[in-house]
């Protein structure tokens, strides 16, 4: 199948290095300490953060750092075919772990000893790149909760189909059998915190695909920063100073 046509356009009309439209909103779950919706094209996720708060299970309490927990769940209606999935299947356990590790790397956990921070991500619509969208949503929600972080970790995926590196794969491109490289970076420190790839790829191609994904992360980071700034300005207006 042809994923990039001779004019250089992808199935959904994007150019190879073009991201899907991003949209984010902060403070959607009013009872959570921090929350955000993040959309990448048709992929839509909600993240809610509770904490830092008292550790629920005392045996997990750590006296030198905060305990970070994460749960990823998919709504029944999130995929094209309706499925009722059991909770805690292998895929969601793995994604929960990936998100937890990525977020733990940027939260200043040693500032909040003996506390617990819960991150819950809920996928409302899945159209490829849920992993990245979840990490981006979690970053925004953590920032909304006012949790101290080293940097705003952002994530984006890239792939390689029809000998063209493609940014931000959608569901069809993801299922095409090519490699799917998911990268998470700390944009200011310029460090990679998450890197996952399936399928095989020559060394030099991997470099360019990874580079492309990292560029995508930076674009996401700029967008997230804008959203946070705008949100903060609104808060300031509401406070009336």
């Amino acid at each position: 199948m042809e994923y990039v046509n001779p004019e250089g356009l992808r199935l959904d009309g994007r150019r190879p290095m073009e991201m899907r439209q991003l949209r984010a909103e902060i403070g959607v779950v009013s009872r959570a300490d921090g929350s955000a919706v993040f959309e990448m094209g048709n992929t839509k996720v909600i993240a809610a953060v509770y904490g830092p708060r008292e550790v629920q299970n005392k045996s997990q309490q750590m006296s030198d750092q905060a305990l970070v927990r994460c749960e990823y769940s998919m709504a029944n209606f999130s995929t094209g075919e309706r499925k009722r999935k059991p909770k805690g299947d292998r895929r969601s356990t793995e994604i929960s772990l990936v998100i937890r590790q990525t977020m733990e790397a940027c939260i200043l956990t040693d500032q909040m000893p003996r506390t617990q921070i819960d991150i819950f991500v809920q996928v409302l619509q899945a159209d490829g790149g849920t992993r990245s969208a979840c990490i981006n949503a979690a970053t925004l929600a953590l920032a909304d909760a006012g949790i101290p972080m080293r940097d705003l970790v952002t994530s984006c995926s890239a792939g390689y189909l029809n000998s063209t590196p493609l940014l931000d794969l959608n569901y069809v491109e993801d299922g095409a059998g090519g490699p799917d490289v998911t990268v998470g970076i700390l944009p200011k420190l310029d460090k990679v915190t998450l890197l996952q790839m399936d399928a095989k790829l020559p060394m030099d191609t991997l470099e360019s695909v990874m580079q492309l994904a990292a560029e995508g992360c930076k674009a996401v980071a700029n967008y997230i920063r804008e959203i946070l700034l705008e949100h903060t300005k609104q808060l300031e207006v509401r406070r009336g100073t």
């Binding site: 209606f77 995929t79 819950f120």
Partner: protein, 294 residues
């Protein structure tokens, strides 16, 4: 119990304040006993579904989606389609829903919704005409899967889910189906699903759910989770536009006097008229808004 009282940490003074306010018809957020919080409806939030809606009542937020699939009708009702409701509680709403923590509440809500909206096993009192889901009698019909998702919970989940399902159904388009003629009676007939023409449901007879929560000696509508933590019992009544009672569920431990129950049902009926009108105008506004966007 539908309440998630574990998370509501209230002091003795706060409890007294809530109860005292309800007794004086002035609740902590300034509402009267019979006033709803602002209701906001948005339709078409899940483009992959046949119909969907998001409903917010105060800080409570739920999403309902409708998906239609072809299936075989139930042998005991060959001329009717099937309708089922599943509810899921997302841990975003409450950390205690993590893992399997929300399953109890979710199955309780699903059952209560089926009881209130689907009109019994025969489906005779269902909010929508199940016969309209039949394609070939005894062979093919539409299975409608209604999925509810609780995103944020601040009490009154059942009413919110009922409203979201009503809005999602009125947003639903079921593709028109052509049945190939000439198939032998034993085989499954071939069907051709149109992707241009859609059938809309008539949801004008679809009931709304009104939950009355009894706190002290008074009952209130649209309780927040703080108020729900103080309830002794609650009665959920589903009422349609004609004022017919479509289902009743009583929850909570305390016993109720039969005359009080009848009183509450009568009160719920009066409240439901306002709620149906408010909901219908919100749904119409949401549909108009969606058409403007597209």
């Amino acid at each position: 119990m539908f309440t998630v009282s574990a998370m509501v940490g209230l002091s003795l003074g706060e409890k007294q304040f809530i109860k005292g306010g309800i007794a004086q018809d002035l609740r902590t957020d300034g509402r009267k006993r019979s006033t709803y919080r602002p209701i906001f409806v948005e339709t078409g939030v899940i483009p992959q579904a046949n119909g969907s809606a998001r409903v917010m009542i105060g800080a409570t937020e739920v999403i309902a989606s409708v998906k239609a699939e072809l299936g075989r009708p139930n042998p005991s009702h060959p001329d009717k389609g099937k309708l089922s409701i599943f509810v899921d509680c997302s841990p975003t709403a409450e950390p205690s829903f993590e893992g399997r923590g929300g399953d109890d509440l979710a199955s309780e809500l699903s059952l209560a919704l089926e009881r209130c909206l689907l009109g019994g096993k025969s489906g005779a009192g269902a909010g929508i005409d199940l016969a309209s889901l039949s394609i070939v009698e005894g062979k093919v019909c539409w299975d409608l899967y209604i999925d509810g998702l609780v995103i944020s919970s601040d009490g009154n989940l059942l009413d919110a889910l009922g409203a979201a399902i009503k809005a999602a159904l009125s947003n639903t388009g079921i593709p028109k189906v052509q049945v190939a003629s000439g198939a032998s009676p034993d085989e499954l007939p071939e069907v051709d699903i149109s992707d241009e023409e859609f059938l809309q449901f008539d949801t004008s007879r679809f009931p709304v759910i009104v939950t009355l929560t009894k706190v002290g000696s008074h009952y209130i509508v649209d309780a927040t989770s703080e108020e729900e933590s103080q309830m002794s019992s609650a009665l959920s009544v589903s009422v349609n536009r004609e004022g017919q009672i479509c289902g009743v569920t009583k929850r909570g431990g305390a016993g109720l006097d039969p005359s009080v129950i009848l009183d509450m049902i009568y009160f719920a009926k009066t409240i439901s008229e306002q709620l149906i009108n408010k909901l219908d105008s919100q749904i119409a506004a949401a549909e108009a808004c969606e058409e403007d966007d597209s």
